[in-house]
Amino acid sequence: MRAADAFTPLAQDQAAAISSRPSLSYWQDAWRRLQQNKRAIFSLYLIIGLLAFTFIGPMIWTVDPSSQDVDQISIAPGADRSAILVKDYEPWYGELSEDFVANDNAVGLTFAVAPSTQSVRLSWQAQGERAAGGYRIYRNLFPITAGRSLGLPLAETQSLYFEDRLDLRPIDYYYSVVALNKRGEDSDLVATLSTTVTRVITRREAERRGLLGAAEQVAYGHEFQLKLHPLGTDYLGRDMLSRLMHGARVSLFIGLFAPILYILFGVLYGSVAGFVGGLTDQLMMRFADFVVALPFLLFMILFKVIFGIGPGESGIMPMLVAMVVLLWPAAARLVRGQVLQIREEGYIGASRLLGAKTPYLLLRHMIPNTMGVILVTVTFAVPSAIFTEAFLSFIGMGVAPPTPSWGSMCNEGIKTMLTHPHELIFPALFISVTVLAFNLLGDGLRDALDARMRNRE
């Protein structure tokens, strides 16, 4: 057993008694926790990136989003862009050059001139009675094999020539000419010819696209590089990158503000209904049911009329208002459910005993405690608002063409999903990144704002 003096009293240290932690307000604490969340910080960088893409992007990539490059429609990113300068287009009525020599296939099928993306000119020899119904011209992207169809029927004609101008791309084609019987059905008399089409651009088009000055002297046959489209082009030959940048404005605006506004309203409405309860709650929630049951499309049309949006005018603000007016009940219902549960918790009773007023209880206890579900709802409302905008624009109620938006680019891209996937993938990717960023941020915010998480980490 040691002596009592084995314990020496420690010199009194004021500092140790005081908590080393500075006193933090709720919001300061939340901000501190948000900063510690790596995912949330990552999402903040993503959002900054998206904003830069939207607002700074168009200053760097100054291509007009509505300018149509019809020589490069639905071009995938990184496609070859070389084109050869040729004369302006002249209609052709089957005249042949003097040195023309017909091939010796079944119908003497020959290309009258070198095939180019401007036109492919076919010529063949008369087959007399065997072609009583004329001729049908087919084009195929794949080699013709026995038992398979000859491909795309381009035309039927009584003449001995045909000019193909339909969507020609610099690839291989297999042309067939079939003699038709009296009833217009294919006979056995057929000849097939394959070719590789070269990409050309006419002088007029080159001037229009600014590749060539009006007075500039360049010999025909000169090779040009057509305009660069880093992310390819859409169904009208418009630059995807530029459209994505300009489309971001509409999509981010409606995708962020609409959900925030209507969910904010829903949260206030729902928490009041849930908290007050009784008949007020009943009446308020029945009104919410009423709004949900209204046919959305019909009332959207009505709003357009009420707001007096003229033809071809942008209706973003009315659309925003209409979405807020019609879409809040879901959030209200959700929050009311949460509040019904929370108002029975012990701390609410305690707070009430301490003299807390209703607004204080709502803002300080109820809403922060429902923040989790609210944030999930907001983040999920982002893509649905983006697609609602696209749908409404499609039926003429949102932004007027040619203003792009991600949602409408997606809608357009679906049709060509299998042939030109880039038209769908890029806008969908941007929507996904936006949703990802706001989901991560929402998660981070939820953790940061959750009062119960305070002092836990």
Binding site: R39, Q282, M285, L297, L298, G337, C410, A428, N439, R452
Partner: protein
């Protein structure tokens, strides 16, 4: 309880009357009418048409006629589907939509709860991350893309297998329902997954869970008796209106899979301004929604006795 139910029913009737009235006058305020078509009609033919459908009467008269017929359960005759009664349209097509909708909601609800619970348990770890990415993909891609891709994959699968594993479209048997229901329920499932995760995480930190753990309750019991029922509450809240919205919003899936549901009649009626079908489907769907909300409210009180209904 019975008094509460009675009050609810009375309020429901008023709600439906409001819905019907707002839709009726909203519909007539929209430019255009059901009688116009691509080819112009002479004034006389138009007058004949108006007389036939009673559109020549003043709007208030039309409204009163509508209310009188509605009270007798008669929703009138469709403008676009000549000679077809709206009652028949609902009777024939609603069961299809409801079947599809219920299946989709069950699929979404179960999937959402399970995946949500899983992500909460594995919070910020690999399963959570993977499911999160799938969820984001599920909601960032519009439903018609998912429907189209789903159908195309099935066609390719059938071609590969050489037989029909599942039908690609149409309606009638269980096999016809599987893919459409999954596609229809996907975005709701994604939403419920995130909602469940969020509410699970809030509950993990709550006092009663700590108490339950502290008093030595087996963790399976803590999970199934305390955590799950409490976390599932927001899911239940969402589910009621979700059934209504999925049943009415099956339009895209119904078109892609050639399913004879009511959803496409509803959407087409608005585009065609088919007055009687708009009114019929809106009132019917409104009543359905109100009913679902009542069911959810009752269910709510049952799951969480703290929630007082009155």
């Amino acid at each position: 309880m019975w008094r509460y139910m009675l009050k609810r029913l009375a309020l429901s009737v008023v709600t439906i009357w409001f819905i019907a009235t707002a839709t009726f006058f909203g519909m007539h305020a929209v430019p255009g009418d059901p009688l116009t078509s691509d080819k112009a009609t002479s004034a006389k033919i138009r007058a004949n048409l108006e007389a036939k459908y009673g559109l020549d009467k003043p709007l208030t008269t039309q409204y009163l006629v509508f209310l009188r017929n509605l009270s007798q359960g008669d929703l009138g005759i469709s403008f676009t589907q000549e000679n077809r009664r709206v009652n028949d349209i609902i009777r024939e097509h609603f069961p299809v939509s409801a079947t599809l909708g219920i299946l989709a909601v069950v699929f979404a609800g179960l999937g959402g709860v399970l995946w949500g619970a899983l992500t909460a348990l594995y919070r910020n770890r690999l399963p959570d991350t993977i499911i999160m990415f799938l969820v984001i993909l599920g909601i960032s891609v519009p439903s018609f893309v998912i429907a189209a891709i789903g159908q195309l994959s099935l066609v390719n699968l059938n071609n590969l297998a050489g037989t029909s594993i599942l039908p690609v479209g149409g309606w009638g048997t269980v096999q016809h329902m599987i893919l459409p229901a999954m596609v229809l329920g996907l975005s709701t499932m994604a939403y419920l997954t995130r909602l469940m995760r969020s509410s699970m995480l809030e509950i993990v930190n709550s006092d009663y869970i700590r108490t339950a753990n502290a008093k030595g309750l087996p963790s399976t019991q803590v999970f199934s008796r305390h955590q799950l029922p409490n976390a599932v509450l927001p899911v239940v809240t969402v589910l009621g209106p979700a059934i209504a919205s999925i049943t009415t919003g099956g339009f895209v899936v119904e078109i892609v899979f050639a399913i004879p549901g009511l959803g496409r009649y509803f959407v087409q009626a608005v585009q065609q301004l088919d007055y009687t079908v708009i009114m019929g489907t809106t009132v019917f769907f409104g009543a359905f929604l109100v009913f679902m909300v009542i069911v959810v409210d009752l269910f709510y009180g049952w799951i969480d006795p703290r929630v007082r209904l009155d």
